[in-house]
Symmetry: C2
Subunit: 209 residues, 2 copies
């Protein structure tokens, strides 16, 4: 386990982004209390910015948890756009449904309960694909979703540094999944890929055609 | 001085992006030999990706050095777009001129020799503003350039963590300049701002209107 970013830097960065949105604060509190993994505020803000710049019509999330990342996407997308959430836990989907009802974002979101690897490929012409499922599944996920991506689309994968375990291979299937996924994305000439050492690592891949 | 990102992570990231473009390799070698500050390959790739996604008509650089960052911008911009380089050192501008001649990018670039704070405001409807001049000048630079930015434009500032000195204020004018600049950008409600702990810190601010 490696500390990716110096904690004093992380503290400085968090100090720059105070938040007063009660829904975000609630979700961040819930994540801390339940020790539930969310992308955190700094990654959330990156998702928001990329969505504003790219102006997608369709965002598909594989592994939405209770809706934290989708809330950033949904607030950034135009009113004619749609964010599809997929999660295998019924209680996560219920929480997200209530969140979007309370925040008036129901019209821009679609909630799916079940296996992301099965439901994800139902969509096509995806402009932003967000991957945050079990880490060993990342290679399968991108393989299944590649034909569903629009030209100029953006693939965003969380945990692309997996607590630094990518640099200290320990043979576990999660670390291996992430390493294989990263190698795969960077090897493809039809994508332009970067990996940001933000929080636990965010891989961004832009489809060139 | 703080090590922002664990060196093993940086090594892993660099291992993912081998490069065979002779011009990039030449510039990276030149930077090492002359100890000349360039944004490096990881930040260069981020600039490339953001340019592909945003599709700017006009990129203006304040502080171009010998053209490393501009080379990434110019390769990513459409043939009808333009990247303006500004640098106060004649030899940097000459190097960049030769670089763009050799790589067929002259038509997409404009080279200006002189004071970036004076020349920059000559342009308007700027889609991407890149700031990489002396750090104490960042607050003046953004003040001078704000009226020149297009709606939906992107401000990208390098060295936004200034070797970690932003978290350990030592009263020197460079650190103070960066701190004031960051605080200013994050305080503005007409921009949505993030700061990525990539290399020496990259601030991204998206103009909302």
């Amino acid at each position: 386990m490696i500390t990716i970013t110096d904690p004093r830097i992380e503290e400085y960065l968090m100090g720059l982004v105070p938040e007063n949105d009660p829904h975000l604060l609630d979700m961040e509190k819930r994540a801390r209390e339940m020790q539930f993994p969310i992308v955190d505020r700094l990654v959330g803000r990156l998702l928001y910015m990329l969505t504003r710049i790219r102006q997608p019509k369709l965002v598909v999330e594989l592994g939405s948890g209770f809706g934290y990342s989708a809330y950033w996407f949904a607030r950034a997308i135009s009113i004619s756009g749609k964010v599809v959430l997929i999660d295998s836990a019924e209680q996560n989907v219920s929480y997200a449904r209530r969140l979007f009802e309370e925040t008036g974002l129901t019209g821009r979101t679609e909630l799916r309960h079940g296996d992301a690897l099965r439901i994800g490929p139902e969509y096509e012409e995806i402009d932003i694909l967000f991957i945050d499922i079990d880490k060993y599944q990342y290679p399968h996920a991108i393989e299944a979703m590649l034909p569903r991506l629009a030209p100029g689309s953006l693939v965003i994968a969380d945990n692309a540094l997996w607590h630094g375990r990518v640099v200290e291979p320990d043979g576990d299937k999660e670390s291996e999944g992430i390493r294989r996924f990263n190698d795969f994305m960077f090897s493809r000439t039809d994508f332009f890929t970067t990996l940001l050492p933000l929080r636990d690592g965010v891989l961004l891949a832009y489809r060139l055609n």
